[in-house]
């Protein structure tokens, strides 16, 4: 493992980058002249905010995959659950401004001829409860799922496959109108959050900054976790699960804890994502989305935390560019990325960079050392 000083440097870089983004984007958006090259146009702000949410999501996957060896192919489910919890709050905020102007029921319920709010929508109009649900809903699902899975020692590929089945089942469930989450269309047509209109530039800037702060805090939390003794046990589980168990650690508890934390982070990412893109629908549960998250982490560098953030930003920026300029080739590029990274860059951008850096340093040290030894020989 890397030395402590390098890790600290990484933390400084990540936090510095996020702080810079949180300060510079509002400045370049609001204060720099429109025709300037540095100007950040309005439509870019929620897009960048979206990237930050994805980065937080990638971070949550890296925490369990990179440090505990749990490859979840269903993390999109936790993300979407968090998103739905936030979407419910935003839906209730619409109030009587909906198409059917019903004071309590969201539009889709009126449309389905429902007379009253289902019980699980109670309290969703209160912001603190909504925020609580954002972390609780994914957390409870992760607890239930992980409790069974880890206790019966489902590991490796099997776990990946059943996580995929989990998100698939949830997708099918949320597509149903009877579920009470808007079915096919999901939740959309939001008006405002905490009284601030979502369409306004200032609200979007605030959301962007909040996303950056959340990502920074999430990063610090993960960093603290993996640095702690808890994190060392996680790494031990990743590298030799049975040996760790034989040493007397309750492997299931460690796995379950980190899985729940990761799910909550993913839920938080989803909750920040929804107000910025303005919609949440069952498509977010699609197994393909969850696999895509894993590739962000792999591209950036598994088990580095900062790599997950970097990967999410790079791949998503690439996606935006590709789907705009060469829509036909996006899947080729993404597919190629999967193959390329797993075959040739298994440690991702950060890991490979680190390797090159170390090698260069070694070589220069060798060069410095070589004359000394030859002198000594003389």
């Amino acid at each position: 493992m890397r030395t402590r000083s390098v890790l600290d440097r990484q933390t400084i870089v990540v936090i510095g980058f996020l702080a810079g983004a949180a300060m510079l984007v509002p400045i370049f958006n609001g204060l720099v002249a429109q025709d300037s090259a540095l100007h950040v146009p309005d439509h870019l702000v929620p897009l960048l905010g979206k990237y930050l949410c994805f980065a937080l999501l990638a971070l949550s996957v890296d925490l369990i995959w990179g440090f505990c060896g749990i490859l979840s192919l269903g993390h999109g489910a936790f993300f979407a659950l968090g998103g739905y919890a936030m979407g419910m709050y935003l839906m209730r905020q619409v109030g009587s401004r909906g198409v059917y102007a019903h004071p309590v029921l969201p539009d889709f319920m009126v449309f389905l001829n429902w007379q009253e709010l289902p019980w699980f929508w109670y309290g969703s109009d209160i912001f603190p409860i909504a925020v609580l649900m954002v972390v609780l809903a994914p957390g409870i699902l992760a607890l239930a799922f992980g409790w069974f899975a880890f206790r019966s020692r489902v590991t490796g590929v099997y776990l990946s496959i059943i996580t995929q089945a989990m998100t698939f089942a949830l997708m099918l469930a949320f597509f149903r109108n009877d579920m009470g989450f808007g079915g096919n269309n999901g939740l959309t047509d939001f008006k405002d959050i905490l009284g601030f209109p979502l369409q306004a530039g200032s609200t979007r800037l605030v959301l962007f900054v909040v996303s950056a702060i959340a990502l920074g805090l999430g990063y610090l939390l993960c960093r603290w976790l993996v640095e702690s003794k808890f994190g060392k046990v996680l790494v031990a589980i990743r590298d030799a699960e049975n040996r760790t168990r034989f040493l007397g650690y309750r492997v299931e508890r460690y796995k379950l804890t980190v899985f729940i934390i990761s799910a909550m982070l993913a839920g938080l990412a989803g909750a920040l994502y929804v107000p910025q893109v303005g919609i949440i629908n069952p498509g977010e549960f699609a197994p393909e989305n969850s696999i895509e998250i894993v590739i962000w982490v792999a591209v950036g560098g598994r088990g580095t935390l900062a790599g997950a953030i970097l990967g999410a930003l790079v791949v998503n920026a690439g996606k935006t560019w590709f789907t705009g300029a060469l829509p036909e080739f996006w899947l080729f590029a993404l597919g190629g990325l999967f193959v390329f990274v797993t075959l040739l860059m298994p440690r991702g951008i950060l890991g490979t960079g680190q390797e090159l850096w170390d090698r260069m340093r070694q070589r220069s040290q060798l060069h410095q050392a070589a004359p000394a030894t030859s002198q000594a020989a003389e």
């Binding site: 149903r176 036909e328 899947l331 797993t342």
Partner: protein, 529 residues
């Protein structure tokens, strides 16, 4: 007027000569068509149809097509080739004065349909008679009774006779003034027929009739209901087996690559898709160059699909997977990437829309066994899936390739020491698994849309089947596929298609907790597989 009278007489004479009878109900009924009143037209139709006259069918058909013209008590039929003919005799007539088409409304149209049903009862074609009997069974038109009696008397085909008799029973049961004895016989006949329609008829009876008849009817209805429920359950089992064999086809290649080699091939579904597109290509070529071969197209496509998908599989193994042995999670990601590339490649070449794959003639239609309806294409897929399974089992057990694959699976290094070229075996086994996926694609092209997304729909289900059945065991895959298929179809009537599927997925997730290595796990002493 005199010329008219002469004409009438001539008609009567000719008819008498032709039919061997004097002016009967047919001739009496015809003039009613010219009355220009719907109720008269309706009466005329039923009289004409009931007359049993040989020209009755022609007249009613002409009326249906708007070719029946009437004026001044005379009725004619306009024919495309011969101009005008007399409705009663079929003789060509010249200018016939001021004629108007006989008007029809919905009520008349219904009468026409019923009459046509009755008339075709006497057709010389067996199939037409059968269909006509079915039509009467549904319409329960009392006016058909005389024709029915005649048709039954002269019917020689057993199947048609049965249909005619149940039609007669339906009519009698529906006729208020029919004698009770006949009604009882009708109930008996219907209870023997025992389908949904008979059930409806019998339940209608019980409401308002003599107590003993009502009892007979309700008993019969009860019997039918039990029998129908049984057939229904059987039909659901059949649907389940049919779905199970689709799952088996999709998963069996995976059972080799994942089950025995331990390679997670997320691009497996795309191999199925490649097989389906191969079928499409084969059919295109046949359509252009040898249309006569169309019925054999699937048999031509089978080896080609096996080779194409197998070749892609070998290529994938050589270029990507062989570098990733022992790293299942990385394999999963890399093959997922490959699946995206393959999908997009097919989308670029063939376009994103569904491609039309035709069904050969021998796969159309359905086999009726009692209350079961087995469509031939589903039947073919079930048979095909089991044959593929059997062949694969034999290959794995009795060929040298199978032996080598098993050896490499059990102990790679030992197998290598014994002189088995493990690299080649890996490639061949992967090719075999992909090739089997390819021929699955040929079969699935018959029941699914051939689009670039074809494979994606099967990948999760296939993995579920393999994991459920137990990795490394072909029998487990068979049992897994059939269990999941039947369970899915049994749940569907109660929970609906989507909820049923969700329930099943959750059940599998819980099942894997209980038995993490599947139904038929390989026993071993290794702590970590």
């Amino acid at each position: 007027m005199t010329s008219l009278r002469i004409l009438l007489r001539a008609i009567a004479l000719l008819t008498a000569m032709a039919a061997g009878a004097m002016a009967g109900p047919f001739e009496e009924a015809l003039p009613k068509f010219s009355a220009d009143s719907y109720s008269d037209t309706e009466a005329a139709i039923s009289a004409v149809a009931g007359s049993g006259h040989e020209r009755a069918l022609t007249v009613v058909e002409a009326l249906r097509d708007g070719r029946l013209l009437a004026g001044a008590g005379q009725v004619y039929i306009r024919e495309a080739s011969n101009g005008m003919i007399d409705a009663a005799t079929g003789e060509i007539v010249g200018g016939a004065g001021n004629l108007k088409p006989v008007r029809v409304n919905n009520r008349v149209r219904r009468a026409i349909e019923a009459a046509l049903g009755n008339l075709t009862l006497l057709s010389s074609d067996t199939r037409t008679r059968f269909n006509a009997a079915q039509a009467v069974f549904r319409s329960r038109d009392a006016s058909a009774l005389p024709v029915l009696e005649r048709a039954i008397a002269q019917e020689s085909d057993l199947r048609v006779r049965g249909a005619l008799e149940s039609a007669r029973a339906a009519v009698i049961l529906n006729k208020p003034d029919a004698p009770a004895v006949e009604k009882k016989i009708a109930v008996e006949i219907l209870s023997r027929r025992g389908d949904q329609d008979s059930l409806a008829l019998l339940s209608n009876v019980s409401a308002s009739s003599a107590p003993d008849l009502a009892k007979a009817a309700s008993d019969a209805a009860e019997g039918i209901r039990t029998r129908l429920a049984l057939w229904n359950a059987l039909q659901n089992v059949w649907y389940g087996v049919s779905l199970g064999s689709v799952l088996l086809l999709a998963a069996i290649g995976l059972a080799i690559t994942f089950g025995t080699m331990g390679v997670i091939n997320m691009a497996h579904g795309e191999m199925v898709m490649i097989g389906a597109y191969t079928t499409f290509m084969v059919q295109e070529v046949i359509r252009l160059h040898a249309p006569g071969l169309f019925d054999a197209s699937l048999f031509i496509a089978l080896p080609l699909a096996f080779l194409t998908a197998g070749a892609v599989g070998v290529l994938v193994e050589r270029c990507v997977i062989r570098f990733l042995y022992g790293r299942p999670l990385e394999t999963l990601l890399a093959t997922w990437g490959l699946s995206l590339i393959l999908q997009q490649a097919v989308r670029t070449v063939f376009g994103p829309t569904n491609r039309e794959v035709g069904t050969p003639g021998w796969m159309r239609g359905a086999l009726e066994i009692g209350g079961l309806s087995l469509t031939y294409n589903r039947l073919a897929i079930v048979v095909f899936a089991f044959s593929v399974f059997a062949i694969l089992l034999l290959v794995m057990r009795y060929t040298s390739l199978g032996l080598y694959v098993r050896a490499v699976t059990q102990n790679r290094r030992m197998a290598g020491s014994m002189g088995i070229r493990t690299n080649r075996i890996d490639a061949l086994a992967f090719g075999l698994g992909s090739g089997v996926a390819g021929i699955a694609g040929v079969a699935l092209s018959q029941i699914d849309n051939v689009s670039p997304n074809l494979g994606q729909g099967y990948i999760i289900d296939s993995f579920m089947v393999v994991v459920f059945g137990g990795v490394g065991n072909l029998w487990g895959t068979l049992i897994g596929a059939m269990t999941l298929g039947v369970a899915n179809k049994m749940l569907e009537p109660y929970a609906g298609a989507v909820l049923g599927k969700i329930v099943l997925l959750i059940t599998i997730i819980i099942f894997i907790q209980r038995r993490p290595r599947g139904l038929f796990a390989l026993k071993g002493r290794a702590v970590e597989a």
